[in-house]
Every structure is written in structure tokens, then in C-alpha cells.
Symmetry: C2
Subunit: 177 residues, 2 copies
């Protein structure tokens, strides 16, 4: 087993990325404080060919040096826009027939290991602030809450890690269907 | 759907965590440069009840303020030790009958969506340096290379995100088996 060199990775150019068919997923960042987490969102969205990121409220936007440190150029490939409030973003997604799932710890949540992601509908996943999580008002407007089961002393996965896990679960379903 | 309060999360105390049955997984950090990524490894290992983390080479160790910023206390629950070289850690794991998988992009890699994780054997997952990845020497000593399929312009998921995704895949298999 030999590690692949960068030129062997079959990476898309930014132009090829823009033309490529995307997964019908929108990533909604609800007041994410850390620019590191924003950068990571771009990098993960690039890796998994995600359709769009919506940066809401206090979430930082490109161009930004701190975002770029983690995004490593993925801000040039992934489509994004800014919304003043997360509710505004949700309203527009709803009008465009997206299913909306908040990723949170809530009563009546769906556990990530029990969800059947085989739908052709567009899905928006909402990830919340590092301290306060997804706003309750946004949860009230969602089609459901997705919860990553946790078993330890903290129950507080890093939001970048949560984004990776939830998006991977969707990607995997597409790859294996 | 109501967000759960901290006291409703059924979080384990550190004492309960120490006594709880763990997943038979060891996380090997092969010369991870960023203390942020080390902290995230602890937090994810805490969430998923991982048996142990081995911090190798230049990887920072607790106690450390920067690690703690991301670990949020998970350094108190998760068992860890330090190994001067990753090869040394691998050798000891091998003697204790662990299967050893490097997480990398390599020829003859197994794609994460195609792996059947239903084994009772202990598994060690090796995650590599942010720039150089897992050492080729370590890959040569591994039972296999696991690759997270990526489709964008970078093929470079953040190592914390990769750890979350690979561990989740194992956790999910345990939950659903």
C-alpha cells in the first residue's frame, strides 16, 4: 500500500467543481462563532460536493484570513451566501422545498444511526453555535432534529466534527444506493 | 421538539466513564501538530467511549492549555499514553493482537463505505500529521488503509473531522448490530 501523491488524487479543478453534479444538500451555519469551524465547513463541503453553505448571523464570511487557514482554498469552490438571520435562511429554503433538519440534542430527536437518508428531496442541515446550539425557534420550524448518539462525560462533539459525521452519513447512503 | 438541558443529557461522571465498558478501539495520533486537533480527538473519544488514545512523536500531551480549550475536560475521562515513535506504539498494539488500520489516501485502500466493521477484535486507527499524513513505514506495518472517499478540489479533510467520521462508522455498526 503506497500513499498517493497529490497529483494522483484525481482532484477537481475549481472550474470542474463548479460544473460537477452536487449532492442536494445545503449546510446552514446558525451563528457559528469560530472561524476555524467555518473554514472546516468549507473544506468538508468541498470534499463531499455539497451544493451550498449559508452563513447566518454572526457567522464569519470569506474573504477572511482565519477562515482560509482551515478552508485551504475551499472557499473558492463551494457556493455560499450570507443570511442576516437563520430564520430568514430557513424560510427561503422552505420556499424552495428543502427538508430542514436541525442537528441537536433534543427530545423526540431522530438518532443518526436510525435514519434512512434515501430521499431525492433537497436537505438542509442546520448546525448551531458552539455554546448555545441551534436556536429553539429554528428547531420549531424544522422537519426534525437529528442527534448523534453520545455516551461520555461531555455530550459535546465539536461542531466541525458533527458536520463531518452527518454529511458522511448522507454521502455514504448515496454511494451505496 | 425541545432542546435538552445539560442535566437532561444523561452524561456520565468521570468516575462512571472510567468504569463503563469501552469500545475496543485505540486512536493513534501519528505526529499531529495542532493541539486543537489533539483536544478534538479527546472530545470525540469521550463522546464515543473509546478505550485509549496514544499520542506519538511530536503530538502534544495533556496537561496543556491549548489542548484543554478544545478537549473541554475530556482529558480527565479518556485514557491516554505517550509513545516516542508511532512505530513503537504499533509494535505494542500488534503484540496485544490489535488490528491496525491507517487512515490515508493510498493505492489498494479500502473505502470507508465498503468496510464491514463487525469484528470483535480490538482495532487501532492511525491518523497522521496534518501535512505529511501517516508515515509510509507505519502504513507498511498496517493491516490495511482506510480511505474516506472525497470528490472535490482538495481531498484533504481536517484530521479531527476524519477521526469523527471513521469512529462514527464503527460506533454506528455497534449500535445497529
Amino acid at each position: 500500500m503506497q500513499k498517493l501523491k497529490n497529483k494522483e488524487l484525481k482532484r477537481l479543478s475549481t472550474e470542474e467543481f463548479k460544473k460537477a453534479e452536487k449532492l442536494p444538500i445545503v449546510l446552514v451555519l446558525d451563528n457559528i462563532r469560530s472561524l476555524n469551524n467555518v473554514g472546516s465547513a468549507f473544506r468538508t463541503a468541498d470534499a463531499f460536493l455539497i451544493k451550498k453553505i449559508i452563513l447566518c448571523g454572526v457567522t464569519g464570511c470569506p474573504p477572511n484570513k482565519e477562515i482560509e487557514k482551515t478552508a485551504l482554498g475551499a472557499t473558492n469552490s463551494v457556493v455560499w451566501n450570507y443570511a442576516k438571520t437563520t430564520m430568514e435562511a430557513i424560510k427561503e429554503l422552505r420556499e424552495n422545498n428543502y427538508l430542514i433538519y436541525a442537528v441537536e440534542q433534543a427530545d423526540k430527536s431522530m438518532k443518526l444511526n436510525e435514519i434512512d437518508f434515501t430521499t431525492d428531496a433537497g436537505i438542509a442541515f442546520v448546525f448551531g453555535n458552539e455554546v448555545y446550539g441551534v436556536e429553539q425557534g429554528v428547531i420549531d420550524e424544522s422537519d426534525g432534529v437529528i442527534e448523534i448518539p453520545q455516551f461520555g462525560t461531555k455530550h459535546s462533539l465539536n461542531v466541525s466534527v458533527s458536520m463531518g459525521i452527518v454529511l458522511w452519513e448522507f454521502v455514504k447512503n448515496k454511494l451505496n444506493s
